[in-house]
């Protein structure tokens, strides 16, 4: 049943020009940063002589592309997640969904999965694009895999938060703005206590946990952080819809 809802969400994303445009624009941005990275590589490396400055092409290009990808997701995911529940409420189709023989958990998880599948197309595309470097060089696939896992977990946390804000209002635009502000604050939380990098406050920051993945390290505490973040917001969404259903 979850699969059916995910498939329906995915279809509706591709049925409107919105999904295609976001996909195309993001891929254009990633592609141009990728090309720029490849162009700059020899220029920068011929200038750097000290061994510490010399890095491989995977890390040089990968850092740029994955850095910009995690930043652009911040804008793209609220735009995609805004309509998930608030539009159902706006067009009065939410009562039909409630009365269907499926649980609220299945509805929310299905919608979430649909969005994740859409976003993982992007992550897969970035992975393929960077793998083409392997034609003339011997690239570090472990680094790419760690970054892809990190990017999917980051996008999934963005979507979970976006779904929660989408369930609060019946105006998609308000949901998008709210989730964008919340995500922006969560991304930059570690900067507030930048003078004390080990402060517990920085632990909440999403970006701090993505950094380990972007170095190529898979850390259990970062994975658990993302999983906890996602489950928290999905459970809160289910509770919110449940109280809606009770009040009628």
């Amino acid at each position: 049943m979850i699969i059916n809802i995910a498939r329906k969400e995915l279809k509706s994303l591709f049925a409107s020009p919105m999904g295609w445009i976001i996909l195309a624009l993001l891929m254009l941005a990633f592609g141009s940063f990728y090309l720029q990275g490849v162009n700059n590589y020899f220029e920068v490396m011929s200038g750097s002589i000290r061994p510490a400055e010399r890095v491989g092409v995977t890390i040089f290009v990968g850092q740029t592309v994955y850095g910009i990808a995690s930043f652009l997701m911040l804008f793209a995911v609220p735009l995609l997640s805004m309509r998930l529940i608030s539009e159902e409420r706006k067009s009065q189709t939410l009562p039909f969904l409630f009365s269907a023989p499926i649980s609220l958990t299945e509805i929310v998880v299905g919608k979430f999965l649909g969005l994740i599948i859409f976003l993982s197309i992007l992550v897969g595309y970035i992975f393929l694009m960077l793998s083409t470097l392997n034609i003339w060089s011997d690239i570090d696939f472990g680094y790419l895999i760690a970054n892809s896992i990190g990017l999917i977990l980051l996008a999934a946390s963005f979507s979970a938060l976006g779904i929660y804000f989408s369930s609060l209002t019946n105006q998609p635009i308000i949901a998008a703005i709210l989730s964008f502000i919340a995500l922006f604050a969560l991304m930059g939380l570690d900067k507030f206590f930048g003078s004390q990098p080990n402060h517990w406050f920085g632990y909440i920051s999403l970006m701090k946990h993505f950094q380990a993945f972007s170095r190529g390290v898979i850390d259990s505490k970062d994975i658990i952080y993302f999983v906890l973040f996602i489950t928290t917001f999905l459970v809160l969404t289910i509770r919110r819809l449940d109280s809606d259903r009770l009040r009628g």
Binding site: Q196, P197, Y203, G216, I218, D219, L228
Partner: protein, 102 residues
């Protein structure tokens, strides 16, 4: 089920208790995940792991190691990352020998 004022209050209290306990559980799990950590470096050249020689030196040190570093506070706006740099540097050693404190 007939909804009256008393039942509504009960539902409200029940919902808030659930949210409170759920958030507490999440914080607890987050805390526990920081106590028991498993890391795996999957880069090709093991860039984030120590070399064999360094690991052997660390294995010879049986007691816990305490490091005290005096560093200027980081100023993110000026791009100063003294403390962050030291933390990142020590992290590689902490992954091999977990009782290095700083």
């Amino acid at each position: 089920m007939k909804i009256n004022a008393k039942l509504r209050l009960q539902l409200l209290i029940q919902n808030w208790f659930f949210v409170l306990l759920f958030l507490l559980l999440v914080v607890l799990l987050g805390y526990l995940s920081n106590q028991f950590v498993l890391t795996k470096d999957i880069t090709q050249a093991n860039r984030n792991t120590l070399t064999q020689g360094s690991i052997e030196v660390l294995e010879k040190m049986s007691n816990p190691i305490n490091l005290t570093v005096f560093a200027t506070k980081d100023d993110v706006n000026n791009g100063d990352i003294f403390r962050q740099g030291i933390i990142n540097f020590i992290a590689r050693y902490q992954r091999t020998k977990s009782d290095i404190n700083s």
